[in-house]
């Protein structure tokens, strides 16, 4: 079985277990304020890390290329409250134009 398949099946099982356990565990569990706070912070850290790694590295090397321009445009789009779709498309168009130049 290829790594991709393991990723697909493993992530699916992990997510289902996480979801289903919410319906099994008594409500009082996991409602410690500090735990709730950490739970809101984890996605912030992971998603930010993904932005950085996907923009400035490739195969474990630091690389500056057309992607950073695309992400910079996305940042501008977000700061003027553009809808999510515009954010993603504007990044793609910017990066594609630079790549083809």
């Amino acid at each position: 079985m290829s790594a991709m398949w393991i990723g697909v099946i493993g992530a699916s099982i992990a997510l289902f277990i996480l979801r289903y356990s919410g319906y099994l565990v008594p409500e009082k569990f996991l409602t410690n304020p500090r735990m709730l706070r950490i739970n809101t912070l984890i996605p912030i850290a992971l998603l930010s890390a993904l932005v950085g790694v996907q923009t400035l590295t490739e195969k474990g090397k630091w690389i500056i290329d057309q992607r950073i321009a695309g992400v910079a445009v996305a940042l501008i789009a977000l700061s003027v409250k553009a809808p999510y779709f515009v954010v993603v498309i504007s990044a793609a168009v910017t990066s594609a134009v630079l790549y083809r130049m």
Binding site: R19, G22, Y23, L50, Q66, A74, T94
Partner: protein, 222 residues
Amino acid sequence: MSRVNRATASQSLSVSFAVGLYGIAFGAAGIAAGFSILQTCLLSLLTFSGASQFAVVGVMGAGGTALSGIATAALLGIRNTLYGLRMAPILKVQGWKKVIAAQITIDESTGVAIGQEDLGVDAMKDGFWLTGFGVYVLWNFFTLVGSLGAQAMGNPSAWGLDAAVPAAFLGLVWPRLLGKFERALAVTALVIAILLSPYIAAGLPIILTALLAVIFGWKERA
């Protein structure tokens, strides 16, 4: 689910369309990362959690192992457990309905349900089911559209997909950056992950930033 009130129905449907449409971006990202159309679509059907799905293809597309892809997806998915905790006493589901409810427990279904609180428990239930099913159907349909489209396009860089993926992550994290504290965490995580990338296996720099979130959350005096 007898007679759904209009406010709940229209909110559920508009959220479903808005979110479902982003399935195109995920479908394209899956192909760009080297996953097949079938694998990309199965991620949407089975994993069914936007950020976690993007994490699997993002981490593995960058050369990370399956394990680090799964771990990142799971860390991002912990919040779904809390949504389940919140929804269980409202939905009061048993047996196979509990399995289905769990599968469609996501940011949007929980968010719309909680948004109906003033309209009563029935409206909360309706909001949950309508939004959950709505997003499920549309997200999967548009994943297929996006993956077929990307397959036809060929080289992902020539179409800017290489920048669309980090932009998609940026769009997901942006609304969560509510204050200075959150922004400080975001910037620290971003910088640390980039700095670590050449030195440790792909995927690990991202997982390690979860630890950073724990440290930040622990030290913060609320």
